[in-house]
């Protein structure tokens, strides 16, 4: 089943065309990667899909619903959650508090219940805490549970971003360069983590530069260059695609 269907998405900023007539789809339970050189428009694409920006033209369907003009919080409430390229953490909170914040959509505390500190409010907070701890353990971060987020090392902050996103119970999780700035060990850990996430039933979309990661875990790969989709297919097919190779490695010079 097509979970995400992007059709003919175009977006320009001033004179620069960031996305030009891009169409792609992500099916349930897939792990899909979007690759391309810097400036190819990958993050713009994510921003359009998740409601951070509005496309100039084109259409985005998520779980059968047209979300093209929806605002970001609404899109998240439908089950489409993303992480960002920069580490975004809630600075002064502890890890568990930050992940609990991600439970917002699933915390059923009403304003009245909160104001009165009713049993419902307290129970929902407890459940939120427990779920947060579960996610923290799922990602292997238990040791850091009560650490202040801004004190975490970079790689763990990136994991935290994923934890916060997972707390929102996404159907589709879009990760924007999750391996950026990570060393090979952290990247491998990330790879395993993404596979684990897929096993829980979450569909995953990645924007990535780390080819090893991409080739290793993706079932489908889309390649963007200068805002256009230039190739799509299985990882092995993409590796052999002459145009993709040229985009990354340049054309062989005529002697």
């Amino acid at each position: 089943m097509e979970l995400l269907k992007v059709s003919n998405l175009t977006k320009s900023f001033g004179g620069v065309v960031a996305n030009s007539d891009v169409s792609l789809d992500i099916h349930e339970h897939e792990i899909v990667s979007i690759i391309g050189p810097n400036g190819a428009g990958k993050t713009t694409l994510f921003n359009l899909i998740t409601g951070v920006d509005k496309p100039d033209s084109g259409n985005i369907q998520f779980a059968g619903e047209d979300i093209t003009s929806f605002p970001a919080p609404k899109i998240a409430s439908l089950g489409l959650v993303r992480t960002f390229q920069q580490t975004k953490i809630f600075r002064d909170l502890t890890v568990v508090e930050a992940v609990m914040t991600g439970r917002h959509l699933h915390d059923r505390t009403t304003l009245l219940a909160a104001l009165l500190s009713s049993p419902l409010a307290r129970q929902e907070k407890r459940k939120s805490y427990e779920k947060a701890v579960d996610i923290i353990e799922f990602l292997g971060m238990q040791a850091r549970q009560d650490a202040i987020t801004q004190n975490l090392p970079y790689g763990e902050q990136k994991l935290l971003n994923i934890a916060i996103a997972l707390a929102a119970e996404p159907k589709l999780l879009l990760l924007d360069e999750p391996a950026a700035g990570t060393n090979p060990i952290e990247a491998k850990r990330l790879m395993e983590t993404i596979k684990k996430i897929k096993e829980t039933g979450v569909t995953v979309g990645l924007v990535e530069h780390n080819m090893r990661l991409v080739m290793n875990i993706s079932e489908k790969v889309f390649v963007l260059n200068y805002g256009e989709l230039i190739a799509e297919g299985k990882p092995e097919e993409i590796l052999k695609n002459a145009e993709v190779v040229e985009v990354y490695l340049g054309r062989r010079k005529r002697a």
């Binding site: 960002f84 959509l105 909160a114 104001l115 805490y129």
Partner: protein, 329 residues
């Protein structure tokens, strides 16, 4: 256990306070302190949990006061009704003003609140038929009297009014600390810290900014009502920019981002002017100095001096239980 005993003793002390201080003057200070606590705590929601500075809180205090007074004077409503109507009306005004104003943030938001503060006061001064302008509204009815064990208790006396104020203070503290503790409070913090991240997990920054602002201004309105029916006379001078600055100073010096901070700030800046009254305007020089020093050297305010490790402070009862179940300390 010890913490609870201490709290109980403090509360008992506060309840007995007006009896211990038999001078009407001291009782007046207690009432004023109570009203300032309500104002400071409500401003603290905006400053501490939304991370924005409102220089217009005095205007909302004024809207509540005038609304409540006029409801009694013109429509003969009893205090109980006008108190609640004024509270909701002020919150509604906050909501309306928030629709445009909360699209801004940082200095622009502060300046916008400055603008609204100015406009509200100008309107109060100029709508003379309604508000009697700069001459102020007098003859505001007090909440009346009631019989208790055969004796007549009048709210024109300070001690009963103190208890009325105390009840409102406790209710406000209860509601505010609860608000912060659960889902909505987390949303406020998320909106303050990183609106983009908040959006991506379903927290709509716009919605929560409006909610916090509406609640904060409503509470300020309730303080206005309390003040109007205590002083029995109100004029625009009590609600203008210097008042807004005074309230902001309380929050900052006490400590933003907490509930205790504004309480401490309010108590301090209610008592200090009494203690320092003999110095005339020199005391204001001191307050300006204090504000500068606190902002630069003590960003967490007075509360920051006493705050121990963050972790233990925020473990509210339900979390301690949950943590115990999981086996984490």
């Amino acid at each position: 256990m010890r913490k609870h005993a201490l709290k109980a003793a403090a509360i008992l002390g506060i309840i007995l306070l007006p009896a211990l201080l038999n001078e009407p003057f001291y009782q007046h200070i207690l009432i004023t302190a109570g009203i300032n606590v309500i104002l400071a705590v409500s401003l603290g929601i905006i400053v501490g949990y939304l991370g924005e500075l409102s220089l217009g809180h005095g205007a909302f205090y004024g809207i509540g006061a005038y609304a409540s007074a006029l409801l009694c004077l013109k429509l003969n409503l009893p205090f109980a009704f006008s108190f609640f109507i004024a509270t909701f009306f002020t919150g509604f005004m906050g909501y309306l003003i928030g629709i445009p104003a909360l699209r801004l943030s940082g200095h622009y938001f502060a300046i916008a609140t400055l603008g609204f503060q100015g406009i509200v006061i100008l309107l109060i001064i100029n709508l003379v038929d309604l508000t009697r302008g700069p001459m102020g509204l007098s003859g505001i009815p007090s909440p009346g009297e009631f019989k208790l064990f055969g004796a007549t208790i009048s709210f024109q006396d300070k001690i009963p009014y103190f208890y009325l104020t105390l009840v409102v203070v406790l209710v406000v503290l209860f509601l505010t600390s609860n608000l912060i503790r659960f889902r909505h409070g987390q949303a406020f913090v998320a909106t303050r810290e990183d609106p983009m991240l908040a959006s991506s997990i379903g927290v709509d920054p716009r919605k929560y900014r409006m909610l916090a602002f509406a609640i904060s201004t409503a509470i300020a309105g309730s303080a206005g009502s309390l003040y109007a029916h205590y002083a029995l006379f109100i004029s625009p001078d009590s609600f203008h920019l210097p008042e807004s600055i005074y309230l902001a100073t309380m929050v900052i010096i006490g400590g933003r981002g907490t509930i205790a901070g504004p309480v401490i700030g309010a108590l301090m800046l209610t008592l200090l002017p009494e203690v320092l009254r003999f110095t005339g305007n020199l005391q204001f020089v001191l307050y300006g100095l204090m504000l500068m020093i606190v902002v630069i050297f003590m960003p967490q305010g007075i509360v920051g001096i006493f705050s121990k490790s963050r972790k233990t402070e925020d473990k509210t009862p339900e979390l301690i239980d949950a943590a115990a179940k999981h086996g984490t300390p």
